[in-house]
């Protein structure tokens, strides 16, 4: 966890940057999956959070349910663009 860009009580839009995190491979800025009010954030700068653990809790606009955002899994690329594939295109 490098730095939170939002705090509890903040109203956030979908795709708004929420937090900067560092993984074993790189650094990423996680965008908000939805619009809503931030209820709770988990962890602070320097803290370690494991994949699947809660990261942030939102109150959604229709006020029917809170949604817990968890640390996303790293997904391996499905396909690699190979030299031959590029050459064959023209």
């Amino acid at each position: 966890m490098l730095e939170w860009l939002v705090a509890p009580g903040d109203q956030v839009e979908r795709n708004q940057p929420l937090v900067e995190v560092e993984t074993s491979k790189s650094v990423v800025e996680l965008p908000s999956p939805q619009a809503g009010k931030v209820v709770r954030i988990h962890g602070g700068p320097g803290d370690k959070t494991n994949v699947g653990e809660p990261l942030i809790v939102f109150e959604v606009p229709d006020n029917t349910a809170g949604i817990v955002g968890t640390v996303p899994k790293e997904v391996a690329p499905k396909r690699r663009v190979r030299l031959s594939a590029v050459l064959d295109e023209d």
């Binding site: 790189s26 650094v27 990423v28 800025e29 030299l83």
Partner: protein, 275 residues
């Protein structure tokens, strides 16, 4: 991700060869009317890792900027040519110039904020941006360099040791070489042999920032704990000495990797390039 994205494969030849570089032009939803920004990623990275996942692309698009991204040869979605010449910094700069013109970049004209091109580079991308700015003064307007230095760490890379390690696991004595190779191997999208070609090409054309100095305003940015950018003040001195306006920004608590996502870095770059 906000903004419309137009992917585009750079498919025609430059000086008789197809550079096979993957280029994308990203248009903002609300155009600020300013010149495009070309983003140049670092060694063993890609436009996606260096600029998209870190929030740069979205931040620049939200600021109303048109953005051009390109994956370096052997990186990301670009091809991995077999000839060594495709990886030389001079060759890459020629390809970048063609990419800029293909994206509609026009020479800088006083009083026309949409003319010219701004550059943001990181690490190896900073070296390329420095040289591109110095050699293409007609089109480059301003430059932001992240994690910059005066000597390319790749020039000291021990290729023989790396090849031995890849062949039979012989440990690498040089710490910097071991670290760079480890970084290159950890990403499944990397073509390790193309990356070694790039290192070899860089050794043939080592970085000498004093040889050609950009004369446009330059913003240098590094994390406080970035050992690879320890010579940033020397680079600033080289720029200032030749009359360039140089600003420096140090980001507290960040290193060569973690400086990338920094909001302070992004805001400073957006502001610096908004004139």
């Amino acid at each position: 991700m906000s903004g419309r994205h137009t992917g585009e494969q750079h498919s025609h030849t430059v000086e008789g060869t197809d550079p096979q570089l993957h280029v994308a032009v990203h248009e903002p939803e609300r155009d600020a009317g300013l010149r495009p920004i070309l983003l140049l990623h670092g060694f063993s990275s890609s436009s996606k890792l260096n600029w998209e996942d870190t929030g740069w692309l979205q931040a620049l698009l939200s600021a109303g900027r048109k953005v051009i991204t390109v994956d370096l040869p052997g990186h990301g979605r670009s091809g991995a040519p077999e000839d060594l010449d495709s990886y030389t910094p001079s060759r890459i700069r020629a390809d970048l110039l063609q990419i800029a013109f293909d994206a509609g970049v026009r020479p800088v004209q006083d009083g026309d904020p949409a003319s010219g091109l701004d550059l943001i580079g990181y690490s190896l991308g900073s070296r390329l941006a420095w040289e591109f700015g110095a050699t293409q003064p007609e089109i480059v307007h301003r430059i932001v360099l992240g994690g910059p230095n005066t000597a390319d760490p790749l020039a000291a890379f021990d290729i023989v040791a790396a090849q031995r390690y890849l062949a039979d696991g012989t440990p690498i004595a040089d710490e910097s070489t071991a670290q760079l190779l480890k970084m290159a191997l950890v990403l499944p999208s990397n073509n390790i042999f193309a990356l070694l070609s790039l290192v070899q090409a860089i050794k043939a054309e080592p970085y000498d920032p004093a040889e050609a100095v950009p004369h446009v305003p330059i913003l240098l940015v590094a994390g406080e704990n970035d050992e690879r950018a320890a010579t940033m003040p020397d680079l600033a001195a080289i720029g200032s000495k030749s009359g360039a306006l140089v600003e420096q920004l140090v980001i507290p608590g960040r290193n060569h990797t973690s400086a990338l996502t920094s909001r302070v870095f992004k805001q400073a770059a957006i502001e610096f390039l908004s004139v």
